[in-house]
């Protein structure tokens, strides 16, 4: 007992027991934490096909994908021109419209404000795009954040044109 510096056989046993105990507790807690993550039935709803043949120029539809609204907007030539004329330096989250809308006529994006998740209103706001009523974020005709508290542009989900009239999201 006089020499405190030198670890004893017993100290080793204590440390090893605590370490094994901690691993055991961690292993027991993990399932209790992970059960809250999205489950298999939720993940299984990964893709949606949408028929867009009835959408006229200048109009948009909103569909539900994985519990979130997706805006599918058929943009007018003016809206496309407006989105493409913006200089990247003016953007809070710089992204080219060309990268956001592969087919310039169709803008497909999550209709979720990147601030706190509200659904922005279309054809509103200072930039002719979307306006979020919750905390006042303004988006342009490419869904890019221009003014307000939101940090990012509205997200573009993974999607593809299955044929001319059908978009597959996810």
């Amino acid at each position: 007992m006089s020499d405190q510096k030198k670890p004893k056989r017993r100290d080793f046993l204590f440390t090893a027991s605590y370490a094994i105990g901690a691993v055991g507790v961690g292993a027991a807690v993990w399932p209790l934490v992970d059960q809250m993550n999205p489950d298999n039935s939720v993940k299984a709803l990964a893709s949606t096909e949408v028929d867009v043949s009835s959408v006229e120029v200048g109009k948009s539809i909103t569909v539900l994908w994985r519990g979130k609204p997706v805006f599918i907007k058929r943009r007018t030539q003016e809206e496309i021109a407006e989105a493409r004329a913006v200089k990247l330096d003016d953007l809070k989250h710089p992204e080219k419209d060309e990268d956001r809308a592969k087919n310039p006529e169709w803008l497909v994006m999550l209709g979720v404000c990147t601030h706190l998740g509200c659904v922005p209103l279309s054809d509103k706001g200072d930039y002719n795009g979307w306006f979020c009523p919750c905390h006042g974020s303004h988006y342009d005709t490419s869904g890019r954040i221009r003014k307000g508290p939101a940090p990012k542009n509205m997200e573009i989900p993974k999607y593809e044109f299955v044929n001319d009239n059908t978009i597959k999201i996810g």
């Binding site: 994985r66 706190l116 998740g117």
Partner: protein, 413 residues
């Protein structure tokens, strides 16, 4: 205290008390010496205990009829309102009960701030109280989500999205909270489970809160220690019990007014529209008791900093006993603090009003000034004031100021 020498009168009582001293505890609670100068602002502890019990009892009953499922929840609440015997009464009592609970807790907290009840040696009581307050906010928020109306859904969306401000892992946290990629059925069922659990955590903390209170004893309006228990205190029962009950009755009149005459006044009509993930209501506001924090959140233009400011506004309250450097507890003897106290009250009310208004133009400007002042009060004014302020001399004892003014001094002696 007096319970150490308590001996039950009956033989059976003594037998039981030797094995589990519940009778000693009961004796302690009855005899507990309470400063005799407590005013009606001290009755809110009892009122809050009533509120908690009322919420638990009405909540357990509502849980017998409510269905926690995204497709059924809204209808089951309407079923409670229309079909269940007295369901309307029980639900209105529970829903308005949360507002009354917060009203009482705000008065209770501001009473502490005025009379310095958070100061040494009562810091632990205060911190437990702040944890209770935080759990109350979480419980109320999750309860508000359960009817699955438009306000429920979008309140859940906005509040859980606060965590998406966390750098790098924000999205993982929100998906974990939701159990999906948006607020949905898994979110509803877990909120239901936790909404049932948290009141019992609060109950446990309330017991610790009262236990911690019974170590130093109550603070009092002049904020000085009890010098002579026989002169300065009265037993809790019957003096304080009767006073608390009288205050509770007055409080219940207000409670009953809301339940019977204005049951939806404090709610929001949009919550009678079933949740729709495709449409956000044009003007979403939280319940009135969360508005000051909502105003702080919105007054910061950056998302992450806004969330940090909101949590910081609660955290400064937790560390308040060390921010307020004045040794004098009661504002009665702190003329400068008294002014700043009322400015803070106005500031918080103003923040609450701004939280209900759209975040733009003049409203936003006022909210920003009020948010700044809130932090200036706690982080700059209070620490400096404790050193600079010229305080009024304290009386020698709790009894002294009473006896000085008394005309029949000899009677009291």
């Amino acid at each position: 205290m007096s319970d150490h020498n308590y001996v039950p009168s009956s033989k059976l009582g003594k037998w039981f008390n030797d094995r589990l001293p519940l009778l000693s505890l009961s004796s302690h609670l009855r005899e507990y010496p309470t400063p005799k100068n407590l005013n009606y602002w001290w009755t809110f502890g009892g009122i809050l205990t009533f509120c908690l019990m009322a919420q638990i009892i009405t909540g357990i009953v509502l849980a017998m009829h409510y269905v926690a499922h995204a497709d059924l929840a809204f209808d089951s609440v309407e079923h409670i309102m229309r079909d269940v015997n007295y369901g309307w009464l029980i639900r209105y009592f529970h829903a308005n009960g949360s507002s009354m609970f917060f009203l009482a807790v705000y008065i209770h907290i501001f009473r502490s701030l005025y009379y310095g009840s958070h100061k040494s040696p009562r810091e632990v009581i205060w911190i437990i109280g702040m944890i209770i307050y935080f759990l109350m906010m979480m419980t109320a928020f999750m309860g508000y989500v359960l009817p699955w109306g438009q306000m429920s859904f979008w309140a859940a969306t906005v509040i859980t999205n606060l965590f998406s401000a966390v750098p790098f892992i924000g999205e993982s946290i929100t998906n974990w909270l939701w159990g999906g990629f948006a607020v949905g059925n898994p979110t509803l069922t877990r909120f239901y489970s936790l909404h049932y659990l948290f009141p019992f955590l609060i109950l446990g903390l309330v017991i610790l809160h009262i236990w911690a209170l019974h170590i130093p004893g109550n603070n009092n309006p002049i904020g000085i220690d009890v010098k002579k228990p026989s002169k300065d205190t009265v037993p809790f029962h019957p003096y304080i019990v009767i006073k608390d009950l009288f205050a509770l009755l007055i409080f219940l009149i207000l409670f009953a007014f809301f339940v019977f005459y204005a049951p939806n006044l404090l709610g929001h009509p949009d919550n009678y529209i079933e949740a729709n993930p495709l449409v956000t209501p044009t003007h979403i506001v939280p319940e009135w008791y969360l508005l000051p924090f909502y105003a702080i959140l919105r007054s910061v233009p950056d998302k992450l900093l806004g969330v940090i400011a909101m949590f910081a506004s609660i955290f400064v309250l937790v560390i308040l006993p060390w921010l307020d450097t004045s040794k004098i507890r009661s504002a009665v003897f702190r003329p400068m603090y008294r002014q700043f106290y009322w400015i803070l009250v106005v500031d918080v009310l103003l923040l609450g009003y701004m939280g209900a208004m759209p975040a733009e133009g003049t409203y936003l400007l006022i909210a920003r000034v009020a948010t700044s002042y809130y932090f200036i009060h706690f982080l700059i004014i209070l620490p400096i004031l404790g050193h600079k302020e010229k305080t009024i001399p304290l009386p020698l004892s709790i009894t002294e100021p009473v006896l000085e003014d008394s005309t029949n001094k000899e009677l009291n002696n």
